[in-house]
Symmetry: C2
Subunit: 204 residues, 2 copies
Amino acid sequence: MADYTLHEDPRSGNCYKIKLTAALVGVPLALRQYDIMAGETRTAAFLEQVNPNGRIPVLQVDDRFLPESNAACWYLAEGSALVPETRFERADMLRWMFFEQYSHEPNIATLRFWLHFVGEDKLTEQQDAQIMAKRIAGCEALALMDAHLATRDWFVGDSVTLADIALYAYTHVAGDGGFKLDEYPAIRAWLARVEALPGYIAMA
Amino acid sequence: MADYTLHEDPRSGNCYKIKLTAALVGVPLALRQYDIMAGETRTAAFLEQVNPNGRIPVLQVDDRFLPESNAACWYLAEGSALVPETRFERADMLRWMFFEQYSHEPNIATLRFWLHFVGEDKLTEQQDAQIMAKRIAGCEALALMDAHLATRDWFVGDSVTLADIALYAYTHVAGDGGFKLDEYPAIRAWLARVEALPGYIAMA
């Protein structure tokens, strides 16, 4: 088996996704930690060697580097029960993973970062002006997830897939961004199902 | 083979990606067109039957619906030469497709939509305040792509993959959003390579 090193910041849900995937499929990951608040992923060395996009997580597979959290989850889980066996369901799993990166993370994770880690009093005027739009779009994403989960246990098919792992990461800490999970009962029941999975690990 | 219908707006690069993928792999697509400017993807019928997220494209496969452009491309291309055979390269292709939806589309496609279709004089104050940040982030995405393509013909491996198709869609019309493609020679050479592919079709 290849040697895996996750370049990460433990506060990041995008990094946690990969650790949770690795735990569920039983793959050991070495960890290399960076402080994103201190700009440690924007140094010349990081940009040159790890990720020219200046972002974590990056999954290192021997001497190759794989940015983008959901691509790293896919790499680790391909061939496992976390990726559906049928063609439509595999694509439908990717559908929810793209939804997560486009409609969920930029709203729910960004508000968590701004309000919980940066602090509302330290936001720029431009960030401040975006809070309401991100609040509305984040609530729309949660409402869509809640409606989907009202009649099913998992996002795709009859068992847990990477779609659930990807969406779990920032949903279960959405309260940090001021979202009220009490308003989404189907999401709360689904969070409990994820947390009951054999091999589940909590976020740091 | 299944019956495929693409629910689309021909002005959308996200819809074009799927049509280009289908053309390259030789799969016929029926088209059902909507006017996103007139709110035709936000009607109750659309939300209930096609996509609760109120967005196009959606690929209909018989009676099932698959939202998210890159998931639809994956569905159509799985098993073809557009998806690499090795595990790392498949994940690396997805890496660029997630990059496209997170770092490229929200900047480059959004500025094209705002400036080319909506019109700068009709933007809200909040949209107007985001133009500069999206301009900077869009240029960063293009610079990263240009540097990557400076030493290679395609984003992943030695031949065209869905990573190229996904990134081509909004890059080749980035000028509509005020981006200057002349500044990115490796991108321009790569655009020409995509346009020379057997089966290539132009955007409507």
